[in-house]
Symmetry: C2
Amino acid sequence: MKKKITLKQIARELEVSISTVSKALKNSKEISRDTTEKIQAFAKLYHYKPNNIALSLKNRRTKNIGVIIPDIVHHFFTTVFRGIEKYADTRGYNVIACVSDESFEKEVINMEMLANGSIDGFIMALSAETQRKNDFHHLMEILDQGMPLVLFDRVTDEVICDKVVINDFESAYMATKKLIEDGRKRIALITTESYLNVSEKRAQGYCNALKDHGLELDKNLILRLPYQFEDEKKSEAFFASTNMDAVLCVNEIFAVRAMRIAQANGKKIPEDISFIGFTDGIISKLANPALTSIAQHGERMGNVAAKMLIEKIEQDDEIEQEEATYKTEVIEATLIERESTIN
Amino acid sequence: MKKKITLKQIARELEVSISTVSKALKNSKEISRDTTEKIQAFAKLYHYKPNNIALSLKNRRTKNIGVIIPDIVHHFFTTVFRGIEKYADTRGYNVIACVSDESFEKEVINMEMLANGSIDGFIMALSAETQRKNDFHHLMEILDQGMPLVLFDRVTDEVICDKVVINDFESAYMATKKLIEDGRKRIALITTESYLNVSEKRAQGYCNALKDHGLELDKNLILRLPYQFEDEKKSEAFFASTNMDAVLCVNEIFAVRAMRIAQANGKKIPEDISFIGFTDGIISKLANPALTSIAQHGERMGNVAAKMLIEKIEQDDEIEQEEATYKTEVIEATLIERESTIN
DNA sequence: GTTAACAACGAAAACGGTTTCGTGTTGATA
DNA sequence: TATCAACACGAAACCGTTTTCGTTGTTAAC
């Protein structure tokens, strides 16, 4: 078992100083050709690689970015994560992943852990509880310390920082409009109970589309389900008691569940009822019938978020003082038409 | 913008030495009550938290563990990841996640990046390419450096280290046996093309179960699909040309795809054909009909892997020299019966 | 009135690097 | 022969901690 070799050991072995070794390995021209070659050969032989921790301490830069997401067994979030990881990789950054589990407290704890030097910046989506409590002091604090932060998807206006979101309102509007243009008159909405900003925006888009096209908003056509827990009975009751010819769902899981219930009730999809869901994941593709859904392009989102973050991190050196400027990037969602709607 | 405060700054401000501050914050009884209180008050006021990087350097312990998985947008792997993260969290460890993307090279690069001090140990599942090439020198190297390693799911006998796997052979055997006992005679297997050890073991279990129950192995009943890329035509041809009354699939995606093709061919599930898949994810639950599948208990697996790793990490101090002993934990998979089989 | 013990604190080394700033040696130049 | 660059290298500071080992000043004991 050979522990990793250090500069000091190389120096001792070769009877030179630590500084000489360090310089030789960086091809400094201060060091003679002979010595440099000797040192480099020795280093290669022993697989010398500088210790990242030491470098981080010296450079005050870890080359790590922290990602905090509400859930990891979740198609959309992992998609974003992949985008982040891929981009980070190209820039030599590692990703430390934390899961808040939709809990405010875990979010705070995780942030505090990471903020003490472990990372150079954060990318995160707010937990449901955080959005409900409307408490963002932990975000303010890390911003105050000068640590870059990029919020994605689950964002809030109360924190001033870089953000990347999809056009939730517009895409829900477009989807609803499509249903209307398909001749649908009684369009239902299945959304979440808890206060998630994305769901709200989607609901807004839905409402506005109805209004703009002369359909009136029927509260009975809106079903609010708990975000995490399944409530099959509530959905069944909804379908049993309500008459509708189309359904817009704020995620694909709601949509597929709803389709099953509708089918069990003898409805034909899309002839009797059309379905559109958000999040174009594997579930949408494999559903029977395949679900028309709104692709959120999570990987792009992750890419953009990582890019924004790293740019901020690396400019921080140069500009330092100058007042930071923040932007919000909007990723355009696109409707992927499949079998659950008529076309 | 207040940058994080350091011991040195507190010391200067309070006109004491750095050592005094450090000790006071740890409630050392070397320091007087007065001084301690003063220092602690000041530290709290400025939200002092020790710098993790400095601690890591000093303790030669990062409290980070590296997780390398082939894919992140993948139900089973994220489930394991969640298990790892949850356990790590309880022990005060952070998780650095890298994705090998099924590529040997990326796996090597990622490992090298992390092995230079960033983490205290690895948890990983081998990439497909690594398994195909049978090249494990990178694993050997990090083991040789004394860094703990736990392999899960995609493991190999050629590397001696801790492992956690499911009983692939037995569970495939049991599933096949169940199909036989249900009266099925022509049981197909849909597995992967590339050489993944888990697929092979499952195939073995399938074959042995057939043999033990007096059914002969028909090569025409075995379909090998590319792991990542969809090959719908190949599957369709398979179903068109082959007569079968049951199908065992090595993952749920294969299974759901296959069900759709069978249904399109006018087959009734489970009356005409039964289906069983591996990986009991959301896809199995939402499929129509719901898919009977073999739960791999990924979260448990992650839990166990993390526990094994952290134990090894933390015992390393004490025992140091003593020859390490490695174990392989087996997580028992369980069959979840749903609508795609008769019961 | 010594001396020993103790309380309260500081100096310095160490973790593993990078980098600035000497310093001694050489060869060329005046 | 004295002077000066250039060359090749080392010493030391620094990043932010922890921890060992002094070093004081005070007090109790003899």
